[in-house]
């Protein structure tokens, strides 16, 4: 297998890092690197949580503390194996993380960090006051680890284990980000509506990343305890929790490499400040927090992506990022659901109503859609078309009324449940993930057709399913004429192709009914004609379509029936010819003569 240059570089750096203690490196630097390695493991968790997932935690140091104290208590007071200590630390950490997640993650994003502050404070006071945990003095005499019969009792030997764990954690995180659960996690930050419409439970993935970050912190704590051979409450306090977050922010949240850059930079800056600041102020004290505080504010203001982009630009110049290798040419097709008989009633909407306070946005609207039909929903601006869409897809909760899809009641269901029944949609304001390639964005649509999880992704046992995802995504992209843009970043596309991308993503969910919100807006004439041809072809394959559109040529030439709305109310329903002939419709759009 031929390796991409960038991968070769990564492997070379990893090897260099691992052989370092065999070289005559001074003990001081081994100690520094050990701490940087331990910090990096925690910062990696925050990269996943904050950078990728858009959540945050100030309580990571407390999870490190749980990992450290668990093994400290079990090995010193019960003389149990450190491996049991690791297991206990991870189990307790997962339990605590699940409780915090369950309490906060269904609410707005800022409740999790607030809860982690309270949890971090509670834990440090507990550690400092419980007799069995040694109070402020902590626990001493933690045994060294033994690995393959070798005792890891000094810094140089411990170094190997710490950095092996750090590099494996980085590899696992990198793999996770490029997988089915990884794409779902990367979708969290862009707003939940799109992810939910693709059948993804955003709550579930928020819990997943919080637990992953907590477990990484606990593992770092376990290593820390057996490295220092003693624990006390100080390194697990809230301030350290904030410093961990700062490492991730400074390094560049969202990038695995950023965790290492950030941890290294913070550790080195901290050392220098502890050397210099006492000279400057004439007294000893924790003054480096002033500099760190000001730095956090400056970084977020002037370089919100941290230091990593600078590193990344350098790498880009010498070693351009390799494109994804197309290895899915012979992948099996993903399973497809059966299509209903043409002409059966598919979607039945009965007196749905939506009130925003006193405003009735959708006023008891009813209509039907039969399998194999293309129905247009038109009306002047503010007629309630998009609101109707959002009611049918579960993005908004309806005030009254009922809606059934293929015999299932969909009114009141969450968006993802409706998506899983085979209703897929696009958005009026395009919602895609600009940092991901076109192909990856479209593959997000296939999420609900696979089942590989986080562990599979980390162990790379998900590659077969991944190939099927990408084959499907490529097939859908070629179908709408975007086969040449697979590897472009979605954010670099003009608006027209972005809309097409959304359609391909919706098709990737294997829909029975497509809901397209202004699909032709921003397209050029030829693109519109091509889109109309694709939609007709989909109809021929048994897919039904409901579309909101302002381009009348497009609607009239494509649809079987049209529902006209005005001021939230259904004005008329009929064939394109009937609608065009209707004086009421003309009045709605153009006003009446007096």
């Amino acid at each position: 297998m031929k390796l991409a240059p960038r991968r070769l570089l990564t492997i070379a750096i990893a090897l260099l890092v691992l052989v370092l203690p065999l070289l005559p490196v001074p003990e001081f630097w081994i100690t520094q690197l050990n701490l940087i390695g331990l910090y990096s493991i925690v910062a990696l968790g925050l990269v996943l949580l904050t950078g990728v997932g858009g959540l945050t935690s100030f309580g990571q140091a407390a999870f490190v503390g749980v990992g450290a104290y668990s093994t400290a208590v079990l090995t010193t007071q019960f003389a149990l194996s450190p491996w049991l200590g690791l297991l206990a630390g991870v189990v307790i950490t997962v339990a605590i993380a699940l409780v915090l997640a369950a309490l906060t993650l269904r609410m707005s994003g800022h409740y999790l960090p607030l809860a982690t502050i309270a949890w971090g404070l509670s834990l440090s006071y507990t550690m400092a006051n419980v007799e069995g945990l040694g109070r402020y003095d902590g626990l001493l005499g933690i045994p060294a680890l033994h690995l393959f019969g070798i005792s890891l009792h000094d810094g140089r030997r411990m170094y190997l284990l710490i950095w092996a764990v750090a590099l494996l954690a980085a590899l696992a995180t990198q793999r996770l980000l490029d997988s089915r659960p990884g794409r779902a996690i990367r979708a969290l930050k862009g707003g939940a509506a799109m992810a939910e419409a693709m059948g993804i439970s955003t709550y579930r993935y928020k819990v997943v990343i919080f637990v992953c970050a907590a477990v990484l912190a606990a593992i770092s704590g376990w290593l820390f305890a057996h490295y220092q051979r003693a624990v006390n409450p100080t390194p697990f306090g809230l301030n350290r929790g904030i410093e961990y977050l700062f490492m991730a922010v400074l390094g560049g949240v969202g990038q695995v490499g950023g965790a290492f850059v950030g941890a290294g930079a913070v550790k080195l800056i901290e050392d220098k400040l502890q050397e210099w600041l006492p000279l400057l102020t004439g007294t000893n004290g924790n003054y480096e927090v002033i500099v760190f505080g000001v730095l956090i504010v400056l970084v977020l203001k002037y370089a919100p992506d941290g230091l990593w982009p600078a590193v990344s630009r350098l790498l880009e110049r010498w070693l351009p990022l390799a494109r994804r290798v197309i290895d899915w040419a012979h992948a099996a097709r993903l399973p497809e659901r059966g299509r209903p008989q043409a002409g059966d009633v598919l979607l039945q909407v009965q007196s749905v109503r939506k009130e925003f306070g006193g405003l009735v946005a959708v006023n008891d609207v009813s209509f039907e859609l039969r399998a194999g039909e293309i129905v247009g929903l038109i009306g002047p601006n503010g007629a309630g078309k998009s609101t109707t869409f959002n009611l049918l897809t579960g993005t908004l909760a309806l005030t009254r009324g009922s809606a059934t899809f293929a015999g299932h009641t969909i009114a009141g269901l969450p968006a993802r449940a409706i998506a899983r029944l085979g209703v897929s949609r696009t958005f009026q304001h395009v919602k895609l993930l600009p940092e991901m390639t076109v192909l990856e964005n479209v593959a997000l649509g296939a999420h609900q057709r696979g089942r590989r999880g986080v562990l599979s992704a980390m162990l790379r046992t998900d590659r077969d399913e991944e190939r099927r995802f990408f084959a499907e995504a490529q097939r859908q992209l070629e179908r709408i004429g975007m086969g040449a843009q697979l590897h472009e970043l979605a954010g670099n596309l003009p608006l027209g192709p972005q809309r097409l991308l959304e359609i391909a993503r919706a098709l990737c969910t294997d829909p029975v009914l497509l809901l397209l919100d202004e699909p032709a807006a921003g397209l050029r004439l030829q693109e519109k004609q091509a889109l109309a041809a694709v939609l007709r072809q989909l109809k021929g394959e048994g897919i039904s379509i409901l579309l909101v559109e302002h381009d009348m040529d497009f609607v009239m030439g494509l649809t079987d029936r049209i529902v006209v709305m005005e001021f939230g109310t259904k004005l008329l329903e009929g064939t394109p010819a009937e609608v065009q002939a209707s004086p009421a419709v003309r009045a709605a759009y153009l006003g009446t003569e007096h």
């Binding site: 904050t50 858009g54 959540l55 945050t56 100030f58 409780v99 309490l103 906060t104 269904r106 609410m107 707005s108 994003g109 800022h110 409740y111 960090p113 607030l114 809860a115 502050i117 309270a118 949890w119 404070l121 509670s122 006071y125 507990t126 006051n129 707003g191 939940a192 509506a193 955003t202 301030n239 904030i242 977050l245 700062f246 922010v249 102020t281 004439g282 007294t283 004290g285 924790n286 003054y287 480096e288 927090v289 002033i290 500099v291 760190f292 505080g293 000001v294 730095l295 956090i296 504010v297 977020l300 203001k301 919100p304």
Partner: protein, 355 residues
């Protein structure tokens, strides 16, 4: 526990709760108007209490500031960050080609800090009467609020709540470190403002607690009047409801932000002055005190002023009972109450993700 002890503890708890209420209200106000979750609210408390302590007792022996006379370090901090803010603002306006406006802006920013510095250098504030020292403390700490907003948050007004929260943590770090620099690591306790005692059966009501209840209640009434009866108050409420809408009505988000930070800093400094005589205050004590206000603000969903006040009284009472029955675990108990509070909130309004 007999009823007398319970009554004493409750009275004690309500006293602390009244202070947490001020901080919780400030937190809710800042979040509503600026979306900033202002973790450093407690730092104003410590700054308030300790600035007054410096005026009363002088700078701690051996501290950096003792070498530079006996004015509190917060005064110099105010002067310094006012200079930085004025320089940044003036440079920007100058570059826009409006040198005259640049000078005017710089002078406006610098006027109050300069006046305070001149006043303090010329007179000898340590020999002032207590009331004048109290006012001077408020005059030094309150302007720090809008300056902190100007330097840390103003240009990030459109950032996500998450980014603003991380900025808050940075500001907390910086202010705590500065607190250590100004006030040293020792604790201070201020003399009581009014050392009268009144007996109510088995209970003793101190003059200090009457002052606490009175000032908190007065401030809450003033806040209510401000929001209900004044144009500026209504402008803040409008900004809280809809930032863009308020902007279209000519209410500048920056002005609203500065005003709400001024109010928050004032409430923080006042809380600091109120607790100074009953608690030993360290440079970093403010953080824990502020977070107790936070627990109450979370109870209120960071949205409702009355609920925040109720929550704060609850936190105060829980704390006072906890310190009686398990004093070592007082903080653990107080901060763990956030868990049932969050459970209650998430059942009450499972928030949909903001777009």
């Amino acid at each position: 526990m007999d009823p007398t002890i319970a009554a004493i503890l409750t009275l004690d708890g309500v006293g602390n709760g009244a202070i947490y209420a001020l901080l919780a209200l400030a937190t809710v106000l800042l979040f509503a108007v600026t979306r900033v979750i202002f973790i450093p609210q407690g730092e104003f408390v410590a700054f308030g209490a300790l600035t007054f302590a410096m005026l009363q007792q002088g700078n701690p022996v051996g501290s950096l500031w003792q070498r530079y006379g006996d004015l509190p370090g917060t005064l110099w901090l105010l002067a310094l960050i006012a200079l930085i803010a004025a320089a940044i603002d003036a440079t920007r306006t100058w570059r826009l080609g409006q040198p005259r406006r640049a000078w005017r802006e710089a002078l406006t920013t610098l006027a109050l800090p300069t006046a305070l510095v001149v006043l303090c250098v010329l007179s000898h504030p340590r020999s002032w009467p207590m009331l004048a020292q109290l006012l001077l403390t408020l005059a030094i700490v309150t302007p720090l609020g809008p300056l902190v907003y100007r330097l840390a948050y103003q240009r990030l007004a459109d950032a996500s709540v998450l980014v603003l929260l991380i900025v808050s943590v940075g500001v907390h770090f910086a202010l705590t470190g500065l607190g250590l620099l100004f006030f040293g690591a020792e604790a201070f306790r201020n003399p009581p403002f009014w050392d009268a005692r009144f007996s109510l059966g088995p209970l003793t009501l101190t003059g200090q607690s009457i002052i606490i209840f009175g000032s908190s209640a007065a401030l809450i009434v003033l806040l209510w009047l401000f929001f209900e009866r004044t144009l500026r108050g209504k402008a803040l409420r409008a900004t809280a409801v809809n930032r863009t809408g308020a902007r279209l009505m000519g209410i500048s988000p920056a002005t609203a932000g500065r005003l709400s930070f001024t109010m928050a800093a004032f409430m923080g400094a006042l809380s600091g002055l109120l607790i100074g005589p009953s608690t030993s205050v360290y440079y970093d004590s403010g953080f824990l005190i502020g977070l107790k206000g936070f627990v109450a603000a979370v109870f209120a969903g960071l949205a409702s002023y009355p609920l925040a006040a109720v929550g704060a009284l609850g936190v105060g009472i829980i704390e006072s009972f906890a310190s009686f029955s398990a004093s070592a675990f007082k903080e653990v108990i107080v901060f763990t109450t956030i868990l049932p509070v969050l459970l209650w909130r998430s059942l009450r309004d499972p928030h949909r993700e903001e777009e």
